[in-house]
Amino acid sequence: MSYPNEAEARLALADVEQARQRVIDRIGMPWWYWWGLAGCWVGLGVLNDAGVAAWLLTAATLVVGAVHASVSQRLLGGRQQTGEVRVRRDVAGRRSALLVIAFLVSLVALTILAALALDADGAGHPATGASILVAVVIVLGGPQVMAAIRADAARRAVA
């Protein structure tokens, strides 16, 4: 049999990388995940400032947490943004889900810090203010986290 020459082998490898990149481009989480999360964040902030009963606030937090856990089980890490393709874990990066979790944990910390700062400043609705600030960070920052995961996957593919 005849093997391809070097130029043909290079072209074939370029095709392989291009196809891999097409799959990497599908790493992400749907827009509704970020907007939904931001909405829930603001909702909890508003409930907190509205002075509702502690049990109601706790129940709302648990419901949001349970819904998030159920939805994110499939979405976290961005391997299956749509029903079209599921990216392999070793392609998306084994730490992609951890990166999203770290982002979410930092949002909780940011909410607490912002609420304390607003409260110390005498703001009337510190939890609402802090949650709106964090909601903006979620909507703008979430897709950026996924872009960083895609860029990391592309870098590892080339390496």
């Binding site: 049999m1 093997y3 391809p4 020459n5 070097e6 082998a9 290079r10 074939a12 490898l13 095709d15 392989v16 291009q18 196809a19 891999r20 097409r22 799959v23 990497i24 391997r79 029903g83 079209e84 393709v85 599921r86 990216v87 392999r88 392609v91």
Partner: protein, 101 residues
């Protein structure tokens, strides 16, 4: 990781692209592969049938949202052969020894 092993079945451009897409995914929908490679339904079906016959690709038909979908995934054999083929292409560029599948 497989050693360099040139595979004539995988090497044609269309089949190599299909294998490459599937190698990066756990599974891919028929429409995803078709649209990304700009193939007709019949052309993709033919190539997938060849790869399935060789045991490189598995075709699944899960029922989703009340309509039939067709998904393709690499089999362990297909993944091994694909990795061997890519290693063979790299060896060709580097001027290393090759075997043929």
């Amino acid at each position: 990781m497989s050693g360099p092993r040139f595979d004539e079945l995988i090497h044609p451009a269309t089949r190599l692209s299909i294998m490459s897409l599937l190698a990066a995914a756990d599974w891919a929908d028929f429409a995803f592969v078709r649209d990304h490679l700009r193939l007709s339904d019949s052309a993709l079906s033919k190539q997938l049938a060849t790869l399935e016959e060789a045991g490189y690709v598995a075709i699944e038909r899960p029922l989703s949202e009340r309509r039939r979908r067709v998904r393709a995934r690499l089999t362990p054999l297909g993944r091994e052969r694909f990795q061997g083929h890519v290693a063979a292409l790299r060896a060709l560029i580097a001027g290393g020894p090759l075997t043929t599948a």
